[in-house]
Amino acid sequence: MRAVMRTTLLVLLWLCGNREVLADKPVFELEIRDHLFFPEVLVVPANTRIKLLVSNNDPSPEEFESYELNREKVIMGKRTAVIFIGPLLPGEYPFFGEFHPETALGKVIAE
């Protein structure tokens, strides 16, 4: 019984420690304004897990979408969304706003 408890405690400690490591990911920011992405090109380090903060400054909702990054997330008007991406091989990864695909276009470049 004691062994079980000790193992559980160790696993919990390991998880807590791990979560701190997780929080250290580099943060990159994207902004949506008038159905456009700023910046349009985001350069990020390759082979690294990245925390992407996408803030939607428009009053209308948008959906961040990328087939190449395999990501999809609804961002309501005047809200900021957290999206984790990567690790990415060096290359270009286009993304777009699914609700305004004619204007809301951009790409992530991993290098």
Binding site: L22, K25, R49, K51, P59, S60, P61, E63, Y67, E68, N70, R71, K73, V74, M76, G77, R79, T80, A81, V82, I83, F84, G86, P87, L89, E98, F99, H100, P101, E102
Partner: protein
């Protein structure tokens, strides 16, 4: 605007429509009244409305990953319910509908969850344009066309299964549901990777050049069997593990059913 609206609504409607058509065809084949569909629609629409009204609160949960976690939870639940459905439907292959009521509840829950998940995005999209009435007409027309195409595809699948012999309809229907379910569980895994709950990996392979996810065939296969051009190892193992579990259940139940039981039943 019109085309965007068609694509967005079609993509969402297609997944739910396929599940609805397969389940209601199998419901008819198993001799279960389709009354559960009314409950499923009612609860699904109520769920989609509540989810979109509460989206700001939901999104902020779990350090800003509440959308991913709640969506993944719903997809995982759909998978579990589909597994339960396969076990129940498999038992009723031999003509005894001892669990008809329970099967109906499970089917209603699957569809209600699917409509909640897919309907939410359509609602957010449509209400986002409510103020811009000039665009609203194009968007609404597009939404109707998208929904129409999605529902037609569902109807096609429904009649395909309804016109099959009972034995084959059940076997193929349950196999197709297994593929849909496997797609659900791999999508749930992807959402947990996006929320950083599961470790991220480089994709195992890239079949984009062969079949792009955003192509028409890719979209259809995504809705039907959860096609993914660049899956990671976690996603692929969730997909194939989930698929294997369901297919084994289908085949074991099917093999245990004596062939003679089908002779007396009308096709």
């Amino acid at each position: 605007m019109l085309l965007t609206s068609v694509i967005i609504v079609l993509r969402e409607v297609l997944e739910a429509a396929l599940l609805i058509s397969i389940l209601s065809a199998l419901s008819g084949i198993m001799g279960i009244s389709r009354q559960w569909l009314i409950w499923a629609f009612g609860c699904g629409v109520a769920g989609a409305v509540s989810y979109s009204l509460g989206i700001n609160v939901i999104s902020d949960l779990f350090e800003g990953t509440g959308q991913e976690i709640s969506s993944a939870a719903m997809q995982f639940l759909i998978y579990v319910l589909l597994l339960v459905f396969v076990l129940l439907a498999g038992r009723s292959i031999n003509g005894r509908h001892s669990h008809g009521a329970l099967t109906a509840i499970v089917m209603a829950a699957i569809i209600a969850l699917a409509i909640t998940r897919e309907g939410f995005e359509v609602l957010v999209y449509l209400f986002g344009f409510a103020d811009e009435w000039r665009q609203s007409l194009a968007i609404l027309t597009g939404a109707l066309i998208g929904a129409g195409v999605g529902i037609s595809a569902g109807a096609l699948v429904y009649y395909l299964f309804s016109n099959m012999r009972r034995r084959y309809a059940l076997l193929y229907g349950l196999c197709l549901l297994s593929l849909v379910a496997a797609g659900m569980i791999s999508q749930a895994a992807l959402l947990l990777i996006q929320a950083d709950w599961l470790p991220s990996q480089l994709p195992l392979w890239d079949t984009t050049a062969w079949l792009a996810e955003q192509s028409i065939t890719g979209t259809l296969l995504y809705a039907l069997i959860g096609y993914e051009a660049t899956p990671t190892a976690i996603q692929a193992s969730c997909y194939f593990g989930g698929l294997l579990l369901l297919l084994i259940a289908v085949l074991v139940l099917y093999a245990r059913t004596p062939r003679q039981t089908f002779r007396g039943t009308p096709d």
